[in-house]
Structure formats: C-alpha cells, structure tokens
Symmetry: C2
Subunit: 694 residues, 2 copies
Amino acid sequence: METLMLEKLLESLKVNKDTQIYNYTVPDLWNCFDYDIAKFTKTQTNELMVNPYDFFASVINDFILSKKKGGVSYNHSLSKSTNKRIPKKNYRGGDWIKQSIVYSTMIRTSSAWDNDRSGLLDKENIYKMPETGSFVRMLAMLPLLKKMGVTVIYMLPISKFSLKDKKGDLGSPYGVSNFNELDPNLKDYLTKDLMTLEEEFKAFVEACHILDMRVMIDIIPRTNAVENDLIKNHPDWFYWIKASEYDKYKVPYVEGIGDTTLPTLEYMEKVYKSEDVYRHINMFQYNPKKQDKVLWNKIKNKKNLSEEIQKKFDLRIAPAFSDHINDSQPPWTDVTFFRMYEDFPKETKEFLDTTDRPPFILFDTIKSNMYHGEKPNIKLWEKLVDIVPSYQRRFGIDGARIDMGHALPSKLLEMIISKARENDEDFCFIAEELQVSNAQFAFDAGYNMIIGNGFTMEPRVFEGKLQRFIMNSNTLPLPLFACGETHDTPRLASREGNEVLSKMLTVLNMFMPNGVPFINSGQEIFERQPMNIGLDSRENEEFSLPENDPYYGKLALFDKYQFHYTNNRRWEIPDMLDTLKRIRKKWLKELTNNKSFEPIHSDGNSQTFIGLAYYKKTKTNKNNVLLILANGNPYHEVYLKPNIELLRSLSYNGEESGKLLFSTHEGPRAFTQIINHNTLDIHLGAGEVKIISL
Amino acid sequence: METLMLEKLLESLKVNKDTQIYNYTVPDLWNCFDYDIAKFTKTQTNELMVNPYDFFASVINDFILSKKKGGVSYNHSLSKSTNKRIPKKNYRGGDWIKQSIVYSTMIRTSSAWDNDRSGLLDKENIYKMPETGSFVRMLAMLPLLKKMGVTVIYMLPISKFSLKDKKGDLGSPYGVSNFNELDPNLKDYLTKDLMTLEEEFKAFVEACHILDMRVMIDIIPRTNAVENDLIKNHPDWFYWIKASEYDKYKVPYVEGIGDTTLPTLEYMEKVYKSEDVYRHINMFQYNPKKQDKVLWNKIKNKKNLSEEIQKKFDLRIAPAFSDHINDSQPPWTDVTFFRMYEDFPKETKEFLDTTDRPPFILFDTIKSNMYHGEKPNIKLWEKLVDIVPSYQRRFGIDGARIDMGHALPSKLLEMIISKARENDEDFCFIAEELQVSNAQFAFDAGYNMIIGNGFTMEPRVFEGKLQRFIMNSNTLPLPLFACGETHDTPRLASREGNEVLSKMLTVLNMFMPNGVPFINSGQEIFERQPMNIGLDSRENEEFSLPENDPYYGKLALFDKYQFHYTNNRRWEIPDMLDTLKRIRKKWLKELTNNKSFEPIHSDGNSQTFIGLAYYKKTKTNKNNVLLILANGNPYHEVYLKPNIELLRSLSYNGEESGKLLFSTHEGPRAFTQIINHNTLDIHLGAGEVKIISL
C-alpha cells in the first residue's frame, strides 16, 4: 500500500525540526488531543507554548494516524475509500449530508494565530513564519472539531484569487483568478520545500477521512476575478468595456420597475426600452483579440497582460453586478461574469435594437438559468464542468457547494453535477440557494441540500421566526442548514440575546427536523465579529468588537483575522457539543427521518417556545421518546405545560418519569415533571434547552 | 585609566550573544533610551520583543557609557570619584541627600519580568534564564528613573539571606545570613561565567555614578538569620534555647503593663518580677561550645551545622521578637538578635534573681541603646562596624540605611557612622526612625535624615494629617522622607482616593519643605499590591489585586513578584515627573532652604488644602515666587481664595499675573487668577496640584 501524504507530512516536520528554542504559542483549544504535558507550558492567556514542529507532528502521529485502518487508501472520497455501500432506496448519492454536522471554515482564518504574540498576525513573525492559516495548521483544529461531533469540513474558497485592487489586507477568496490552482498563501512554512501546497491539501483531506470526516469545497463557476489566468487564451469568454470609460460604468436603472426585482421575462421588454440600459450596453466593446489579432498575439504573453490590454486597446473587463433589476448595490468591481453563450439570449433577442453589437452584461445575460443563447460556449462549459472532477482526482474531496449555481444555464449545472457523480456516485452538492421556495428546483437539479434562510430566521426569536423555521422546514423536499449564522451574516453572539442566544441555537440546531447542523467557524467560541457584512447586516456591523481590539473593523473575508480563541468562555459550546453528539448519534436515524418527528406545542401558544419530539418503536415502549424543549427567549424564564397525548399514542410510550439527558442550564438528572400522564410541567430558564428521554 | 566593570559587562553581553532567535519581552517602560526601533516589535500588551543581549548591551552602550566623563574613576562613591568639594558650613557629610530624589527598589522585584510570557516568573524560563531581578536587568530601569528625576537608588537588602523555613517562594532578604556576601540569586544569566555577581554589582554602581545617581544600601546590624554563617566561629554571639522546647517558645507577657509599651527603666522591675518572664528566661541555655568544647570542635565544620547542633546538643538559636513590652506580635522565627554584650545589662542586673544563668533575650537585652553591659562583645562590634566599609571598598556605595539602628548600643552606632565617614567624608546615613520625636537623637547620632512617618500621615488627608505632615515637618532638625508609601506599607493606589491620591502625593512630595522625595518602586505605575504587610496594613491588605491576577496574595518581600509595568496608565507619573524635575531643579536651592519657604493658607481653614510657597531674591522681583497649591481631597473640587499678602512683602514680588507651570489636571498656561493684589482666586479639581510661578 502506498504511503499516505499525511505520513510524508509527518516525516517533513520531523526532518525540519531544528535546535532553535521556540517561544511559540497556540490557543489551548487546539490541544484536544492530550499533547504531552511535559512538552508545553500553559500561559495565563489560555495559550500553550509549544515547539511548532513537535506540536503539529504530535497531532498527526498521536491523534490522526493512530486511527488509520488497514486496507483503506483514504485518498479518494471517504465513500470511495471505504467502499461504502450506497443505499438503493430513498437515497441520492451524497445524501450522507443529511446525517452530518457541518463545520464551515475559512482555512486562512480558522487556523490563524499570532504565534509569537507580537500583537499582530504576521506575514513573517519573529521566526520568519507566516501566522495566517494553512492546511497543516488546520490539522490541530481537527481534534476540537471531532470533540464537537463535526463530520464535514466545508471550506470557503481555497483557490488562487486575484490581488488586483484587493479588498482589505489580503483580498477576497471569492475573486477566483484560477480555479484549479490553490491559494499559494495557504502553503505552510514548517514543511518548507519538502511538501508542495497540493500535497499539504491532500494530506489534510486524508487526515479528515481517517477521522471519518468528509471534506467539501466551495466552487464558483458563474463569476471570476476581473484579472485572471483565463484571459490570455480566452479573451472572448469575458465582457469588455473601454478602459477610459471605466469610471462611468454603473448599473443601469430601469424606470417603472420596482426595487430589486427578479428579471422575469415580463419585465425584459421594458428593460430594453430603457434609455439607461442602452447607455449601459453601448459601453461594451468587442474583445481585444477580435479587434486586432496581430496586436493581440504580440501582447498576449506579456507579464502584466491587463495593463498591456489597457494601454494598447483601451479595454478592460466589465465588472459584474446584481442579477436583480434596480438593486441598489454598486458594481462588484473585483469580479466579472463568464460569457456563457456566444450569442444573445433567444428569449430577449427580439427586444434588442440590433444583434450587431458586442456582448454585454445585463440581467438576462447574467441569469443564464432563465435566458439562454443557442450557441453555448462549449469550451468554457467543459472547463467549468471539470472543476469538481479535477479536485476529486487530485484530492479526493467529498462534495461541493456551487456558488450562484442558480445563475448557471441549467444544462451546464446538470453537466457539473452528473460529471462529478460519474467519478463518485456518493458525491454531495449543496446549492447556494437561500430561498426555501426554490428547494424543489434544487432537488430537481440534483442537489442534496440547500443553504436556506436559517441565518435570517433563527435569530428573530421574538417575531416567531425561529419557531416557524424550526417547525416548518420539515415539509421541504430537501434539507437545509440548521444555522443561525454564516460567514456572510452577523454573528449570533453579537445579536440580541448574545451568548445565551448563541448557545440555545447551537444546541437546538443539532435536533432540527430536516436540518443539517451547521457551525460557522468562530461560532463555537462566541466570536462577535462577522467575517463579512454581505447579508442581513445592521449598521456598523463591522464594528462589533471593542475599539481597542486589534481586529476592530476587520473582516476575515478580506483581512488578516484571528478568532478570539482564548476568551474565557471558549470551552462552553465545545463541551456541550461533546455531550450532545452522543445523544444525536443514538437518535440519528429518527432525527433524520420525518416520520419519527412530532412537534410539541406549548399550552399558551408561545411564539418563543420550541418543542420537538422524536420517537421510535421498541419492544418495551420505554426509552423510545426524545424530547427537545427550548425557551427561545434569551431574557426571561418560562413555565409551560405542553400536552403530549398525541405523542403518547404515536409512540406507545407510557413512562411516568424519564431522564433529563442535557440542559444548557443544569446537569443531568431524573425527570419527573409530569403532571398527569399527558401533560408535562416544564420550567425553562432564559434561553434554556432541555433534552429529555422517556 | 583602568577599564570600568561596566565596560567588561558590555563586552560579556557581546561575547555571549548567540544565534538563537529570542521571543523575549520587556515592559516598554524599560525603553526610555530610544532603543533602535528596527530591533524590537511592540506587542499589544505594552511589551517590547527584544534580543536580551542586544537590549541590555544597548542601554549600557548608548545610554550610560556615552555619558561617561574622562578622568573620573566611578568606582568610588560619587563624591570621591568626582572629588566633590564638601561645603564647610551648615553641611554634614552625606547631606547631599537633602537635595535628592530617592527611589527605593528591591532589585529582585523591580527588574523582574516574565520575559517568555509563560504567565509565571520562572526560575528557568523557556531559554533557561531566570526571570527575577538582577543588577544587570536593573540597568534597563535607569533611563526611566533618570526620566523621573531620581538621583539616589536605595536598595532593600542585597545580602545573602537564610532559606531555612523561608517565607514565601523566595524568602525574605531581611533574614541576612551573611552580610558580606551578596544574594547569589541576583547573579545575572546573560553574563554567564564571564562576570561574577560582585563584578555585576560593581558595574551597576558605576552605571549609577555615570548617570549622576548615588547608590545606598540597607544594612542590618542588629538582627541576623537564625541560620547564618557566623555560628560556626562565634556560637557565643547568639542566644540559645533547647531545641526540644522550641515549640513552647513565646514572648513573655507581663501582667500590669499596658500593650506595646516602650521598656523604659521604670517598668523593668515589674518585668523581672513576672512569673512569665522567668518561664521565658529559664528556657535559655549556654552556647554549645561552652557546654562541650570537645564535642563542638568535632561538629563545627559539618555541613548542616544547625542540624548537628540540634542532634548533638539539643540546642537552637532563639528567635527575636518585638522590643516593646506586651506587643502582640509573635516571635520573628526567621531572625535572632546579636548578643551585644558579654554580661547582663548593668541597669537591670539588680532585678535579676542570679547572674549565674545563660544569656537571654528580653526587652532590655534587645534595647541595647537603653541598656548596656559592661563588657561589649568587641569582636562582634568590629565585625558590624566593618559592614559599611566593606561595601565602600568593594563597590563604592554612597550611603546606607541602618536597620533598627535605634536598638544598637549608641557607642556601636557611633563607631559604624564614624568609620564609614573616615573612608568617605560625604557618606550618607539614613536612620530607620519612624518617630519624628526622635529626630534630634538621630541628628545627634550623626545621621543625615530619618525615614519619618509620611506613609501613615500623607494618605490620611481627611483627618488633616497630610496637611500637618507637609506643613509641620519643616521644624525638624533633620529632613525626612516625603512619601506616602514604603515597601512595608499599603500602596497609595490602593488607598482611599487611589490613583488620584497617588498622583497628587507624588507631585506634592517633590516640593515638601524639609522632605526628601521618596518613590517606592511600583508607585510610579500605580502598583496596588503592597510588598509587605508590616506597617499600617488593613484587613486583607495582601489581597489588593483582583483574584485572577497571577500575583494575587503575593508579597514581593517573600515571593516571586513582578510589578504591573504594562498597565495602561503606566506613563502618567513618569511623564509628570519628567516635567516636575525641571521645575525642581530650577528651585532646588529654595526648596531645600527653610528660610525660603512660606506656607499659604486657604481662606476657609480647609484641612485638605496644602499651599506651599518658595521665594527668592531677584533684582527685578519678578519670577521669584513658586506656588504649590494642592487639593488633597481626591473626590471633590474646591474654590479657594488664599491670601498672599505676607508672601508679597517677604518676596517683594508684585506681579499681577504669572505662569501655571504645571497641573495634574491641565496643561501649562498663563495664570491670571488674582482677584486683587493680595488674593488668589483658585479652582482646584479633585486631587489637583497646581504649580504657579509669579
């Protein structure tokens, strides 16, 4: 059997270990693997002083490789590596996601740490080491994630991105400039030149697989950085405007149509009658190669190609913008759209004055799922279809989220999904679909789940939205994320209810019917600063930290950022999840089966109470009911008398006492608060969740 | 000219510097010498990451040696090194202390720092270096002290002390076991074996002298550690009891005499009639050598001599106790008294039942200034007399404080003082005399100043004691310390008024008539934890820090301790003193001359207002008055209209406006608040001090 890349990584760390004495710290949270107590000193700041080579070698050797099983290759997807038998009935390849707990991470941030305690996240610290994240550093987070019951590591984009006019200190990983190359900043320092970045990622995926965790990536086939590696050979894949008119470029405004309107066909005639739309589409130019092939061939191999094009052709790639009419967002200056078709959309062509004009970006050419040309840009499609297979071949990933998949030609989306499943029939796809009304489309397209709108619903406890979200998502044809925050939204810990809200939702989400528990990196330690202010942000959301915090005003998506891993409450959620994962495991079949679920209603029609019950058939009809009762109100306690008559009859459970398995507010104990056979007598503290078995 | 020891130290640091990368921090306060900005990183915690060899080398080379003057040897006292001309009139040798600003330091604490940030003050940190203080480390404090205007470094004991039954982590430096050896823990690590500890101290004294600062030590001729290096050759210099009765040893209680009574002769008859006194003195035994010379000679060279004596003779040295009758303090188990006379006190001998008994410790044998034998222990006296000369010869110190000098035979004290002044006619002596009523005795004995009771008076603003202390000390025959705290007392920053009180007194003390400004190490950064709880302590004084502070409950006098040098207000007092030292320098002659002083009274007889004026004769009668006006109340502002008519007539100053040179509450500005020629119109904020020149 071939050597694992992880073993090569371990060897590299051993080889590179030198005689330097390292005063190098990591958060104590990173040691959930019983690192030899003689090898570190714990500081007052909840950090451990370690030798980095030895520390990372130990997590690989002692925590990960020790769990390696014989005869498993680990370098394909987990299902392929373990020759998983795919269920024949009621199972779509990738449906393992339904039983998963997903941890969303941005590698460069989640595993960043000011190891030399200079106060800054250094590009080169006192030991000349970078302190931002890497796949190797992320290995030290795996024991913590394992403790929390995480089974899927979902990564924000890890591809090479453009640094042109970059936002923040580092630039956004969503401005992909080459989807097949990895972001070179993720290369680890400790391995020096003994490992390539690709090998390190491969080792990371192997490590996850050994720990029974799957790895998913985020792919972005609809947009691309305005400055990217494809221009050189494919200038015709992009939209162009005059460089000298760049400053005048703005999103066209269509009179007579409301704000942020989906560009359905009914509006398009009006769109094409708008003066401002013609002002806009008149800005577009033919691509430089088409304009002057001889000149193009002269410059196409130059180093600063964009600059050359600007100088010689007065051309620039046109920025992307929102796919909704009259959306107030300005153009997204760092990214552009791929030109999906070589011709104009057949649905709207008739509205256009003349087809003898350069291709342009407009709502219809953006929304390629709704508007299609007759000549697909086949070469581009093939390229986009191959993104996932390329990551499958090289790294053995298990799934992917498709960014803006809803704006891809449905044919192309179908190709992307089917091609990936040809390679790995158990490959999972998550739709970047926030609207639950589109769940059926996503299901039909072949996705395993959608993201959904948990992040806007769950925190709005007092509007009854948490209750509605948890209780009603059950009816959707696809599961969605059981989550209260994502990398684009405000943090739960900075919402109304703060840590209480955060804890309550993190517990509740482990048991949401038709929900896939989702933990946004940092959520587990009550991080308050959002990673991005893209969705549902409030005024000054980016200033959620105290002013004297070194990361005040910084956003992980653009800036060097480290989470507040050493705060005093850092162990609360991980310790809680350590308990909950055992309860979840025992009840996993029922938790992921609609038919085993029964809602529990409070006596007073409370909008803030959430009651969930799962039941199973057992011979004795004992210990066959699991109750999850939550008080969504983070400020006030509540006394309730929920009726369980229906549950009694469905489950045949007749127990008069049970066990309080878990509470956010107290320890486990016997549960005897049953007034009469069919009525519970429940006290829930502010934001309390109680889990009871009968 | 011979090479300075400081130059050898610099060379040692250069030689020992290695290629290790040091993640080693020092408080930013230690860089008051413009350390090369390219060589350090400032952390968020107000520390600098430096290479220790380079950092200490830089302070020596760039800040200290650069100020070295040609033709000065620096290794004698400053007066001798610079051939200072001693004034003939109104000057006692050592009277330079009257113009000084004294900084009291315990080297092992003041220069301690958790350099590797392990959270603990390590005996061996990650680089195997100790983190407690040393003379070499203390060099980095000198630029800060210089900034604050300090001219005298006064050190708590630096001699070798006993570790037997030590208090705290480290033991007390007051339990001296060998007064001529230095505490070996003060040896620096960076110099390795290229320097001896004595050489390092010598280099430190030279450094102070180059910076025009004098060095004073604390000598302890009255007591000694119960376990010490003198026993071997001089068992007869000590008092002995039966080891097997050690647990019964307690201070005798004399019925019919009040608590804590000075043992004047009138009481001694009663003392010697007390049953409990006889219980006590009956415990004493002859010294082991006298008991069995043959056996003594057999064991005297053994390694654990005390243990041997205990085993073979059943003897132990008797602990010391308070020199007051019926003082509730238990015996001081770590120290004992020297036996000053070979016979019993002639004043009390008649009260004793028989002189045919072993020597014992009692109030009269303790108070050797009041009770004298006829046979002085000459060999011992010679030894004690030579302590100071030995430090003069070896290190060139400038002065000394004598601990419990008031309990020495006056003859012996006279010998100590005169012998030191034979070597250095400008040598200064400070009496450990807290009672101002004894100032005349101290003056007569040859001291230059007493400590006084500032620390109990100054913080008691509302009882009017601050006012009385500042205004009345003027009449004493000797100056005393202008201070609000010492190493034995609570910290100003933890008293009522806290930082406001601390700031106000630190300013005021720079201008107190007949006061010598005294800064207790840590005071300059608002340290709250006392170094010892010996004097004026309140309940739980030793718990002045927050419970989660790593030094909670620790006392610098016994434990590993580092000051909170990195707190956010750390620069306030040093910056203030940097300004004040210039004003003080300009007015130093008047400040130290009683005849130039005139008190300023408030209109309302306020107990909390302090008004000081100094004036001089000038040709123009302008700019010849300095006013220091302080509101001692740290909570409330005050409006006052002090009358300056008398000052006008004494100074001939007729100015109608002046300058506000300094205020604790505002910046400098013109001063025009004069209602009519003779009345000021003053607003003072809570705890404000204003300094005005007219």
